[in-house]
Amino acid sequence: MEKLKKKFGSFSFWNWVIASIIFRLILIYFPKNLNLPSRPEVSTPLTSFRRLAEGYWLKQSSMSPYAGQPNHLLYSLVSVIGDVVSAMLIRATGQNLQLAYFRTLDSLDLVKQIEGSEVHSSGDVAALIYLCNPFTIVACVGLSTSPIENMAVILCLYGACSRLIPLAAFGWVIATHLSLYPAILIIPVHHFFQPPRKLFLQRHQQKGVLNQSKLPPGFSWRPIIHFAFWALVWSVYVLVLCGISLKQFGGLWEMFKSTYGFILTVEDLSPNIGVLWYFFAEVFEFFRNFFLIVFHVNILFIILPLAIRLHHRPCYLAFVYVAVCSMLKSYPSVGDSALYSGLLGWFVNELSDMQFSLFLFCGYVGVSLLSPVMHNLWIWRGTGNANFYFATATVYACLQIVLVVEGVSAMLNHDRKLRSLIAGKPQDAKS
């Protein structure tokens, strides 16, 4: 019976995967009706395929690829395959995570409590969320390059989760090279390599027996050095490749200036679903640097407290970082929210208590429908103005904030519940 159910589950999983691929291909077949590549929600200056094509063309005609619109991306585009590979990686990581979760519960003797309940296979759920998410589909069909960026991030997390240090380092380097923000993922990746201690300690303190021999080994430098070595190797490799291909156009410095510099200084103020373009269009020129620093430090401020609070759940920490980045980055697109909503699927069991889930869902649906309408009102019909579009951008940002806050608090509640279960067990045994 169990087997049958499992078989049925996997069957429908593959069905859904195939259905989502077919749906993408159908949409790709009708490109003109939707005109997705020109939508500001889909293609930002960083992820637009048009700019990629322009950059390639400029390079072919032996000009600097950065001479036209600043262009970050010089790699080929296979978004559908990228999406499927990402989904498979997410699935594998989710299965790893679930195994680890059960192992933790096992070591805490809590398996009995969970047995009766319905446990979803979080890997499948996450992969399906990623594949069937309209945001992912739109980013894929809209010739945005974010599927590739997302794949690099997921590759990094997968490598970290399954302790393939070279792979994790490769993913991290590529993701950082492509969109800079994933650089902060080094902290969760680092946490992955440290064995969890907190719950063990608690469990044993509760029992009053602190058996040193049963404790997993503490902080170890080995994997970190290992990771640093591989990260160095990969980044040198990438930089050398870039240096060779950009030799006649001013070399690496030019690349840094017009990629990372472009991201950090928010030069392109064309509207997108973020909030920075509006702000920097309004701000006085001589305050610009100050506010640039303020906005970017925002992300850095969030890193440390979260790293301390969630250090026992590195994967969740990575999810929160990705979500925070997509909220505060300079050129966000729907591809970013596709990434973090896919990662959210990993924690379907832990987050089952999350509040406001219906509210968040409706909010996302509403904003994703309202945003094109507002853009149309502003640009095509001329009856609206920039504030109309910016209003949806702020609502979108607020939704992301609510999602992160509620997600983190639900996760902490879940941990608290586990702790109270540990605390409650001896009493149960006594009674």
């Binding site: 009766g116 309940s117 095509w380």
Partner: protein, 719 residues
């Protein structure tokens, strides 16, 4: 670590710390019934208050300066215009089999003034269904092959280059003219336009080019203007259609025009352009009229309820009333003018205003009852035409390219003597001259005044900030009721499982509850999604049905209904059933379905209010009560109280009314009487909606219909 542990032991029963905003939300949600009743009634009341709250219009853009210069149009120009009118009527008498003759006359007159003249040949485009047209930019249209020579129209275009301009901006004057069977009114409108045109060739103050488009209206006024605009704004780079056109012998006759040696005059075969259009005026003169004084009607509604900038209407209104002594008129719903209940409502508001004035003398609230009735009738027609989403004249084509345009229809008091004709030519011409002179002063495009407004009279308007309040009050109960239903459904399933915040009470059952509790709505969301998907399919079906040749409206409608039912059944079996059976036994499942339905309706109405406010308002008046009242009939029957009985009645009535075809026939019956109602009418109406790319069509298909289906399924839920 130890400290936190102690703390957690002390806080075994932590006080629920609730943020104030959340507390406010909880308060509203727990009193959702009262709140929704209050909000809905005040929303409807606020709608009826709108004519009272209307403000007087004012000219917002200082650069316009209407009426600051004295009109230069003299009797000489009027005589010129008269000459053209005479020539045209004579040529009509002579040869009416083709319109070529009158086109030649007009072109010759334009050339004599020294304007650049060109002909624009077009083929009337079949109206096609573009479901996503609203979200995309205007395209250059499909290039159709094999045109026949018999069906083409010829627009005559004359352009005056401004002596002081840089040729980057232009003002468009449009006069629809059907060369095959033109009435006297059309000739007269050409006369007015010509007299203005002849003046504008001489003046020195012109800073924007003037384009005079004589639109060939034998395929409809809109089609001709739209075809010319499409060519002007999005040029086609395909030679096939032009080649085809030039093979026709008739058209080649056109080009045999004597070009006099007037400086600057130039005839060209190619399409001529001026700069970007600042504004456009469509001028019409009505043939018959029974008015006692000369009136001028303003039509402004473009597709999807878009309006031109209010300043343009203000300028016309100001010049017509204060300079030319014409009565200005906007469309009214005549049937409302004589309704007694509206009159008594107006009197009630008037007396209310008197009381308010006695209490506070500064209070400027309230209008006379008669004015209230007129304002309401105007507002109702303004709402009606906006909600329909079909433009009320050729000016609608301009709005698609962000050009502000209105149609002016002059209906003179009718007499045939020459003095009267000269008078109309003079006053109409001076009005047009004044408007053009004002627009000529503009430095930027119209942006100062409102784009989103409703007119209650030519000089009074309700802005978006006011009418949105009425709408917001109407839909405010939706999220609250959705939240309260959601909370109810969740708490009712958990109440038996004890408080989860106290650790000792945790049982296996609670652990079991965790996994599904807060995501239980996903199942209902799936149902709602499927029904909306079905709605999308139903809205796409007419595209395929209208490909069937020789299909009467009635059969098309029947096919449509049958296919819709079939697709609903298929979707239901394919997508819904495997998972529906798993959770069918859930407690209060209908409440969750209702909650998600209401959320989706809220999103739909909110979205529509941005696209087309009037549609959203009408939709909200229908859908909000239906959504809020829906409850399984079984429950109500079981309860058997008076309240539940009332609810059953309301539900049944609303369930019938809100079904889109039923609502249509009811409205039609109220306006024209029930005798002529025919099943095919609904199909024809729908066809006209999608032919004009009206967003109302999408609203009906993707918001109203799914909502109705969901509400009916809630009514017949077995619980």
């Amino acid at each position: 670590m130890a400290e936190t542990k102690v703390k957690s032991h002390n806080d075994d029963k932590p006080k629920p710390r609730v943020r104030p905003i959340v507390r406010l939300g909880i308060f509203l949600v727990s009193h959702s019934f009262l709140v929704s009743v209050v909000c809905c009634t005040s929303g409807v009341l606020a709608l009826f208050l709108l004519p009272v709250l209307a403000k007087n219009t004012y000219i917002s853009e200082n650069a316009l300066m209407p009426g600051s210069a004295s009109p230069m149009l003299s009797n000489q120009h009027v005589l010129d215009g008269n000459r053209l009118v005479k020539d045209l009527t004579n040529s009509n008498l002579k040869s009416s089999e083709t319109g070529i003759g009158s086109h030649k006359i007009i072109a010759q007159y334009m050339l004599d003034l020294g304007a650049e003249v060109s002909f624009h040949k077009f083929h009337p485009q079949m109206n096609q269904f573009h479901p996503l047209h609203f979200f995309s930019s205007p395209d250059s249209g499909k290039i159709q092959e094999n045109y026949s020579c018999s069906s083409y129209g010829i627009n005559t275009v004359g352009i005056i280059r401004a002596p002081r301009g840089d040729g980057k901006e232009a003002i468009v004057l449009v006069t629809p003219y059907n060369a095959l069977k033109s009435g006297f009114g059309e000739a007269l409108s050409l006369g007015i336009a010509y007299s203005v045109f002849s003046l504008l060739t001489q003046v020195t103050w012109l800073a924007k080019d003037i384009i005079w488009l004589v639109a060939d209206s034998q395929f409809g006024e809109y089609a001709a203007v739209a075809a010319w605009l499409r060519e002007y704004q999005t040029p086609k780079f395909s030679s096939s259609s032009t080649l085809n056109a030039e093979m026709c012998p008739d058209i080649n006759n056109l080009f045999e025009i004597k070009v006099h040696s007037v400086a600057g005059s130039k005839f060209s075969n190619s399409f001529r352009r001026a700069g970007t259009m600042a504004a456009a005026l469509v001028l019409k003169v009505r043939d018959q009229s029974e008015q006692f004084e000369d009136t001028i009607s303003i039509y402004a509604e473009a597709s999807n309820g878009q309006m031109p900038n209010l300043d343009l209407i203000n300028v016309v209104n100001y010049l017509a009333v204060h300079r030319q002594g014409l009565r200005v008129n906007v469309e009214k719903l005549r049937s409302l003018l004589n309704s007694s209940w509206l009159k008594s409502l107006g009197e009630f508001f008037e007396s209310l205003a008197k009381v308010a004035k006695r209490l506070n003398p500064k209070c400027k609230f309230g209008i006379p009852a008669t004015e209230y009735v007129e304002g309401t009738a105007t507002l109702a027609s303004s709402l009606y035409y906006q909600a329909l989403g079909v433009p009320t004249g050729p000016h609608g084509a301009f709005r698609d390219y962000q050009v502000d345009a209105i149609t002016l229809e002059i209906s003179p008091k009718f007499s045939l003597d020459k003095v009267w004709r000269n008078d109309i030519l003079l006053r109409g011409g001076r009005l047009i001259e004044g408007v053009i002179r004002s627009v000529n002063n503009l430095l930027e495009k119209f942006h100062q005044s409102f784009f989103l407004y409703l007119l209650t009279s030519p000089s009074k308007f309700v802005s978006v900030g006011v009418y949105m309040i009425a709408f917001a009050l109407l839909i405010a109960p939706l999220p609250m009721v959705a939240a309260s239903l959601y909370v109810d459904a969740n708490s009712s399933s958990n109440c038996s499982k004890g408080d989860s915040s106290t650790p000792p009470a945790i049982t296996d059952a609670d652990e079991h509850g965790i996994t599904i509790r807060s995501w239980r709505w996903l199942n209902s969301a799936k149902l709602v999604f499927i029904v909306h998907l079905w709605g999308a399919i139903v809205s796409l079906l007419p595209y395929f049905i209208c490909q069937i040749p020789d299909c009467s409206p009635t059969t098309s409608f029947v096919i449509w209904v049958l296919l819709s039912i079939l697709s609903l059944l298929i979707l239901n079996t394919v997508l819904a059933s495997p998972l529906a059976c798993v959770k069918a036994s859930q407690v209060k499942e209908w409440a969750l379905v209702k909650s998600v339905t209401i959320s989706s309706v809220f999103i739909g109405l909110g979205l529509m209010s941005v696209i087309n406010f009037a549609t959203a308002e009408f939709g909200a008046l229908l859908l909000v009560p239906m959504c809020l009242l829906a409850q399984p009939l079984k429950l109500d029957v079981r309860a058997g109280t008076l309240r539940s009985f009332c609810r059953i009645i309301c539900n049944l009535v609303l369930g019938h009314i809100a079904f889109p075809p039923a609502a249509f026939f009811l409205l039609k019956g109220m306006l024209d009487g029930f005798g002529s109602a025919n099943v095919g009418d609904f199909w024809m109406w729908v066809e006209s909606l999608w032919a004009w790319n009206s967003a109302t069509y999408l609203f009906i298909g993707m918001v109203q219909l799914p909502c109705w289906v969901l509400c009916v399924s809630i009514l017949f839920h077995s619980c």
